[in-house]
Subunit: 255 residues, 8 copies
């Protein structure tokens, strides 16, 4: 068989535009491809829910790639060890209860699991705004190509509809900020001092729906709640992603 450049080009555009047209209307949009976003996406998709993971960068994984101070290792505590096992991530025990894993492996294994479960990933995609109508809930996202913003161009966005939206954008908590800045009833307290123990114990409490249709997870949850900072310990991140998935599932059943 002769390989043909035009057929290759058509295969790519045809397949991706088919998926994009379909995903302009979805169950759950997860913004931010860090550890809690990927975990949440994977667990939701495993339940057959139509999920898009939207990431502004070209690569998925966020701050997890760099470990701590560029040493590509992360620490996970006992409570979340079962999620390492769930995703097949290897680890060693440094001291009792402190499990060290490769940060690169952690990204690849959680993301592979998300892909296996059927998550569609939209990378290089920026969320510019949210849709809020008379029902006063987040019902969609206004998206654009990230390079449009990187290149300083002014180009109109497109819009997708989502029944539930999850803000997994880290301490920036971008989506929550958009809602707040345009008048949504939502207080953002900002991240507190470093105190890993407290931040890790409270993150599940802060993982919740903070505005109709909008759930926060991971560092975004802590930033909205004014919780302390955690550093390169990732147990809470994974567990928060798991809880966000549960909340999203519940929300979807109600609609």
């Amino acid at each position: 068989m002769e390989l043909d450049e035009v057929t290759i080009s058509r295969a790519i555009l045809s397949e991706q535009s088919r998926i994009m047209l379909d995903y302009f209307d979805l169950d759950c949009a997860i913004v931010g491809g860090g550890p809690s976003g990927i975990t949440c996406a994977a667990l939701l998709a495993e339940e057959g829910i139509k999920v898009a993971l939207i990431e502004k960068k070209l690569s998925i994984g966020g701050g997890m790639w760099g470990g701590g101070m560029m040493f590509p290792r992360i620490v996970v505590q006992e409570e979340a060890r079962r999620l390492l096992d769930h995703f097949g991530i290897k680890y060693t025990e440094y001291e009792k209860g402190y499990f060290v894993a490769s940060s690169v492996e952690a990204v690849s294994k959680t993301l592979a699991a998300a892909c296996d479960a059927g998550v569609e990933v939209f990378n290089l995609t920026t969320v510019e705004d949210v849709v809020v109508k008379e029902d006063k809930r987040v019902s969609g996202l206004v998206i654009n190509w990230s390079p449009v913003e990187m290149a300083g161009l002014h180009i109109d966005p497109l819009t997708l509809r989502s029944k539930v939206t999850i803000d997994a954008t880290g301490h920036d908590s971008t989506v929550a900020h958009m809602v707040r800045d345009k008048g949504g009833d939502l207080e953002i307290k900002g991240e507190g001092f470093m105190w890993a123990e407290k931040a890790e114990s409270n993150i599940l409490k802060h993982t919740k729906e903070v505005f109709p249709g909008l759930i926060v997870t991971g560092m975004a949850a802590n930033a909205v709640a004014g919780e302390n900072r955690m550093g390169p310990v990732f147990g809470g991140m994974l567990l928060s992603g798991e809880k966000a998935a549960l909340l999203a599932k519940e929300a979807l059943n109600l609609k």
Copy 2:
């Protein structure tokens, strides 16, 4: 158990410095974390060979994340379908012999396989130079943190020893250029016009040892050989990575 920030910090540094000290002396150093580099690393490590994958960016995956023109899909032809299967990457057939896969899934699955096989990944790591001594072969790499270069600082590098080095840096073919620019007997012809069919059929021929101790793979192989350009079809990339692994294995037995 109480989570303690200092123990977390020590766990990360202690574990990673142990690995770095060990990996200053290794069997095979693969430079460049794109599809052929990851494939090559995974297949070598599956054989129990001590492999490091060195990538200057924070994330692994290179140009594969973006698919074609930011549409995150890649095309793989029939000959390489078995490697998609090997890594568990899902695909659909667009036209006979043209298989379309998610570019994000392709990255995560190949990388997950590499991690499972025991590859150590050094991301944010730049190769500044190579070691060539009286035996006139590449016997090591001179490395530095990428942010040192990104921040425009002048800081001395460190050096690792590798029995075989693989240049998987794409059309830049960075390692081959270093060898050539410092007087190594190695001609680099540069990439030709776009002609996917020809580029794909010849890439295996060009995947070879181009200087004692230095094997080129993927687009670096084609760039050194003056071969044509391929575009977003990835079969040849995967097969080239596979061949580079074979050649490296042979080279290691000879020493």
Copy 3:
């Protein structure tokens, strides 16, 4: 009727991806949206030929928008006055034989004519490379989104097939340079001193097929031929676009 964001989004993507899939295979690709490129595109499409006008910037019109030294007026001499009339561009006579028109009107009228004739415009699109196979002729273009390059990203391009390609990229003569730089038999002499009279009289002679499948027009024609420079007089540009259209038409009949 209720306006719906998702339908708007789908309408845009659906319509444009249909056109892109179709235009991956076309009769004539014109690179560069300045005066000779637009003129050429308009005249070819008026003949029912399937033409794409590819421009790396967001807007079409190139250097014509700015007139001379930001004074948005252009001068056209007697020989080309009939093309001003053809496009419905108003003008006044400054001295005998020197017609002054608004540069903004000149852009809008020529572009409107091109659209009326059925030209498809791909703006924000960069040409990265050309397709040249065993028949040693330019038979396609390798394209990418311009913001990918503007943002410094490394993302694979897609490819389109064109029976004839026209380089209308101004003194950069980008396509001709690509052909030359990758070993095509094509000499580029560069633009000479300013000498409007001579440059204007010779431009039609230089508007020709300079490599199989590649016609040069406008300032690109003069730059390849080593002709003198013209300045803000646009008669030769329009006439060169007209001649390039004729040459392309002839070439298309031969295939």
Copy 4:
């Protein structure tokens, strides 16, 4: 006839300085060359009113060139279809009531109409300030070359007098901000969440004189009023430009 560079230079400067000297005193200054600005300019000039369209960029058309997410298509709804027809813009019906047109064609046709009607376009021109005297109305604009600002130079501006000024600068609503920031009695509420339906229905209501002598149109109208956001649907933009033209005409008769 011999072409002469000096005559060409004199023709351009002489013609443009004549026009600039004349247009330092005009009926209506429209700031911003996007869809509502061009529409407004065209419709006013068709009535014989002396209109200048002032745009800071080199090209006219603003955000319309890029369609939605760089796919160069726009959607227009039923209510505004007659304006597409008025300007001769072709369209197809995607779903009932959703008309899709080429964004490039839309720019060129509206701008060509504006030129035909006698609008003078001042591109590369920045508005730095407004003239407000004892009558507490906007009675002129303080202008400069845009490259002066782009190059970071400090150079004094010149001033033009206009009986009516129209702010068509998009969500930045630049002129309204200048009036507000220097103490003019004018509240700017900022754009709300994305909600195309509501934004489109209310835009005509918001297109009005917001300060003596200053009318807002297009997204500037919605931004001042605190209205919702619309996305790449352009019916309201065109209709708002039409209404601004009507209001300007009324205002001019009163003086």
Copy 5:
């Protein structure tokens, strides 16, 4: 003996990681390598206290290198002359009571003394945040590589524990700002007008513990207190560093 690159690399990493692991828990962390920071570090280490000097730049010495207006001389007044003598810095008397020294010598001699006394210097290290737990005192620092920030990367930090922390960051008073910005009870008044006499006489009064566990010294002390500015007279800086050392020593005995 044969010199071996791998042994060199291992020697450096092995030695430094041993020190870093040890210094994740220390007596006193001094942030900022200017004159008061170095002085304080040297005097504390002379007492056998475990001290780290943390500096974000590659070189230590801060603003002292440049003297006044790039003329590399500093002035020290009578009261602090004994500290010049203590560090072995040469000087000449310009007018009675005004001693002039080389700014380069002043840096090198104070730093040499600090190294002799056993201070560990962590250069290229940024303090991103502080640790404050239920006891409401600064009990640690959140650190990262400076090039991570310089290169615009998002990488998690590590954390070290310190019994006492000293803010010697100059007028930025970075650590004090972090404490204040995250809600710590600490007012920062900012530096006043230039008035060397007053600033020099009051600096010792302002050198104090401003928040539990946090002592300010040098210009940071004056900036927090709202004191006047001093210019290139360094007596107060050295004396303030000396006083901070005394305070730190007292604080360490209390714990």
Copy 6:
């Protein structure tokens, strides 16, 4: 009398466009507003010759403003003292034969003299190219606004005709380079080592017509001739400007 902004604007544009239209055809164009360019312009205009001084920066004076190493003083030797006197520049004698003047005064006095003599100054004006026709001599300049280049815009230039052109652009010798780079028969040897004595004695010899219609003066003369470098001694610069004026006058009589 009431001051009116529109009249002010018209006064400025009207006056300057009148001058520009006139000066598109002139006797002598001097490129570069440093000491030799100003001197040459002043002396020529004193003879009633129609001279334009073209400078790319906003201010005139070039490197003279900064004296030596930002100390705003220049040295002039005995031979050129009479030119200091001619322009009314004050000086003191440092050692026998070394006269020191204020660099700021030197700029203002020479420029004031040039203005008095009737030189027209075009600042913020870049020379992009030269006019060379069948008579193979420089017969005009292609000019543009400097901010166009500073802002990275592509805008066509205008052209002026000059009987004689003087390159006073310093070591860049910009005009000479343009002639050489486009094939003019003119060798540029580049500046040699610092050796003030030799450079000063030879500069008059190098001040000459280096291509028909093009005279070089000041550092441009030395750079073309491969002469040594001079540093902040300005006697040769002033004398070279004087000689260039003489040569230009002779050349103008011949035509």
Copy 7:
């Protein structure tokens, strides 16, 4: 006589350091080298007062070089014509009472007059802060080299003492802002809308001592007073400089 580079260097440094040492203590420091600053400096020095003109740029003249919109002409009204005559600046009458002069000539003639009168100019010098002691008046300036700031370096400044300080920094009114920002009792209202007539008539009223020891002149005077904006009419600027000189003279007699 043999020219010697070392003697040249010593002549420059020796002469300038002698002047700087002397001018660390002066009668009147004028900050900002625009038209009102130069005028004020010239008129004060003509009275034998020891004056320094401090300018952050390399060249003196400020915004006056560029005329209006880069057309290098300025307009002066009848009231200030006598100052044009005083400085020997040529002009033409455009309409009754509107005198047009070359902006370049205006800079050079005023500056030449200032140099003749004995003003010392410190260019490339930034004012970083002011000296205010117990007498609560501005009694000195904290200065640095501008390139230190331009290069982003942190280097200590030096200080000069002045009996009276004049802020001639244009709308930035830099010195007034420093006084206000550090708690001085001084309100800055900011510039109003463009209204040349009113701004010109009131500028003399606003030229006054706004804080003990600090007089404002030119646009700084209007900006502090909240006056309207003027544009490229310079009569008020020159007259304001003249009045500031009068006020400074009075202030100096009181001390």
Copy 8:
């Protein structure tokens, strides 16, 4: 005693200008403040020779501050241990013959020794060119403030005379390049592959006078000779500085 800002300013300028005036004529100019430059300067000054150390950065120490890969440790081998002892730098033995020291301590101790010996350090000083006259030897340096270059300004330099010049600028070998680029008879071969053993053994051989009056030391010596690269082992650097000092001393006796 009352501290007075003006006296402080005068003390600094007076002292430094005295030194600069003196050092415009010196015995030995050493360019580059890295380890070999400092060592060489210290050893020469210990012999009473008048030495200036010229460094373009604000801080002295060059690449030594960063150790290897930002781990601030250096390795020194047995042969150079006596120089560590000479400067009082502490070290530990990692393996037999590999001594590890703090890179920060190494900088401060060598620099303190240089200051003690009487070296004058000119930091923030760029060498722009060299003086070479009829005797065809390097007899001086053309210097400027580094911030002038960093800020992109064009300001004339000053010149100093030196009997011997030492290029200690690292692999850039800046001074040698200047000599070569302006036609001096001097070949620069560039640095070879990493091979620490060979580079360290040969560096003393390459430390020599490469052009009359110009000695190269440290990495500049190896770069000129085409020697291999060394990495973060500093024995050779210190020994090369020592040898350069010997050669300079010999050269000075010959004159």
